[in-house]
């Protein structure tokens, strides 16, 4: 693996780019690994990377049924933030933001994490009080947060609608300055390249068709490329977690929904940060290429169909036009849907599956991209040590039995 640097870009420029090698190998799967990770999205690849980096476990394979980052990792709106309410969530997501902050250097791959800030607007005086509560909770949890009044919101994001006739007029906002956006493909590719360089096998077009369970323990997987034995198995398959659970005979409290997103034709820079308006259920940012990236809440119909539909499109885009009237004439370029794994409390599931030797990283719902580094970090810890990290312990599957739910749905202000 060649080291990427300004110098290597310069040299390759002189050689017309002929010296760039492949960023990772495409090895044939071995018959056995110490750790097999199912799912080659961001979380699975990050798990492989942190296994090699933090735990010295190099005999690792990531199995991906399609191509790397072809599921939700390539279908999100790239927002990275930790503006959560409960201490457990704040600790989890802020660890992820911290890992993102050093990730480009860590991976030697530019993931384009741009901390341009995110505002969650408040649209009435009672909402301002709830915003102050959210802001206080974030500060108490050690996460940066600031209250903005309407004038400060206007300075932060002048393109927003400040007309008094707006359906939900803007009174202020909570700003997290360290939040921002990243480049989702680069996150997947960067983790894949670094895990591969450390000795991990990244295997694409290899679909897991069954889990091998012997004496109550998961000892491997059957795949479209044959049987692969494993010391332990990690599952990071997002919207298809329930399909895997049926193979393994364990139960999950997950419902799969479509989450849609939209990107417009590229235009000159107009949006500074990420803006969420909770009563509209819509948020937007602008990518480095100039496209307006627009997202909303979940679809209303449980689904495994990876495509968009009209009712949600109408809801999200009409809200966007009310939030940014000057951008209403901008044309959409693409519109897509990903299958997200939604839990009853909108918090992830990290921990043992109930089947010995099989560990889960799922249930991120609509918020998986921002959590890729921490999801990989914690699943790697579980797979290497067999026990919880202090950050992941509250998010075990057992919380649905003990009742210690971490109900983040309300606090984040959007169905997520």
């Amino acid at each position: 693996m060649s080291h990427y640097s300004a110098w290597s870009v310069f040299l390759e420029g002189l050689r017309a780019g002929k010296g760039w090698g492949k960023a990772w190998r495409s090895p044939k799967p071995k018959s056995a690994y110490d750790v097999v990770i199912i799912g080659g999205g961001g979380h699975g690849l990050a798990t492989a990377y942190y296994l090699t980096k933090n735990h010295g476990v190099k005999n690792v394979a990531v199995l991906e049924k399609g191509w790397l980052g072809g599921g939700n990792t390539g279908r999100n709106t790239t927002a990275i933030r930790s503006n959560y309410f409960y201490p457990e969530s704040a600790a989890l997501y802020d660890k992820s933001v911290q890992l993102y902050e050093g990730l480009s250097r860590d991976l030697n791959y530019n993931v384009m994490f741009s901390q341009r800030g995110m505002i969650v607007c408040a649209h009435s005086e009672p909402e301002m009080e709830m915003a102050a509560r959210q802001c206080n909770a974030m500060q108490l949890n050690g996460v940066d947060a600031e209250m903005l009044d309407a004038d400060q919101v206007r300075r932060f994001e002048p393109a927003l609608n400040f007309s008094p006739s707006m359906r939900y007029p803007i009174h202020g906002a909570v700003l997290q300055k360290r939040a921002g956006t990243g480049r989702q493909d680069a996150v997947a590719w960067g983790f894949a390249r670094a895990a591969d360089a450390a000795g991990g096998d990244i295997i694409q077009n290899c679909e897991v068709t069954d889990l091998i369970i012997e004496g109550g323990r998961c000892t491997g997987v059957n795949t479209s490329a044959g049987e692969i034995k494993a010391g332990v198995v990690g599952a990071a398959v997002a919207g298809h977690s329930s399909v895997l659970a049926q193979m393994g005979g364990y139960e999950l409290p997950i419902t799969s929904y479509v989450l849609q997103a939209f990107v417009s034709e590229p235009i000159k820079p107009v949006l500074n940060g990420v803006t969420l308006c909770p009563p509209f259920g819509t948020y937007a940012s602008q990518s480095d290429k100039g496209g307006l990236v627009i997202g909303g809440g979940l679809d209303r119909v449980p689904s495994y169909g990876q495509r968009g539909n009209m009712p949600m499109q109408e809801a999200v885009l009409s809200a966007f036009c009310e939030m940014f009237p000057s951008l209403a004439k901008v044309k959409l370029l693409r519109h897509w849907g990903g299958i997200v794994d939604v839990t009853p409390d909108s918090s992830p599931i990290i921990g043992p599956s109930g089947v010995e030797g099989l560990y889960l990283n799922c249930g991120w719902g609509t918020g998986g991209f921002k959590a890729i580094p921490v999801g990989g970090y914690l699943l790697a810890y579980l797979l290497a040590t067999g026990s919880h990290h202090s950050l992941s312990r509250p998010f075990g599957l057992d919380r649905f039995e003990t009742g210690r739910l971490i109900d983040e749905a309300a606090s984040s202000g959007i169905a997520h």
Partner: protein, 88 residues
């Protein structure tokens, strides 16, 4: 825009319908002892099947609950019946 069939009102726009839950999730008998695991299964566990699903939906204008049979990948609706009717 997809059309969903209400067994009482006929074909209507999908936005008139509300997903209520999976069919066959029976509340445990609370007059007896129930373990935390059983109660958790009733409250939270989902089959969340990929393919043919049987679900309880509400048609919000008439407020009737009914059984909707559909495919969770293709979204094709294959049947709709009142809750008291048995499956054909």
């Amino acid at each position: 825009m997809q059309i969903f069939p209400c067994p009482f009102c006929g074909d209507r726009n999908e936005t008139e319908f509300h997903f209520a839950g999976e069919l066959g999730n029976v509340r445990p008998d609370t007059t007896g002892d129930i373990s935390a695991a059983e109660w958790s299964t009733y409250l939270f566990t989902q089959r969340n099947e990929k393919g043919a699903v049987h679900e309880v939906w509400m048609h919000t204008p008439c407020a009737e609950l009914f059984v909707l049979e559909r495919d969770s990948v293709s979204m094709e609706v294959t049947g709709s019946r009142a809750l008291r009717e048995t499956a054909k």
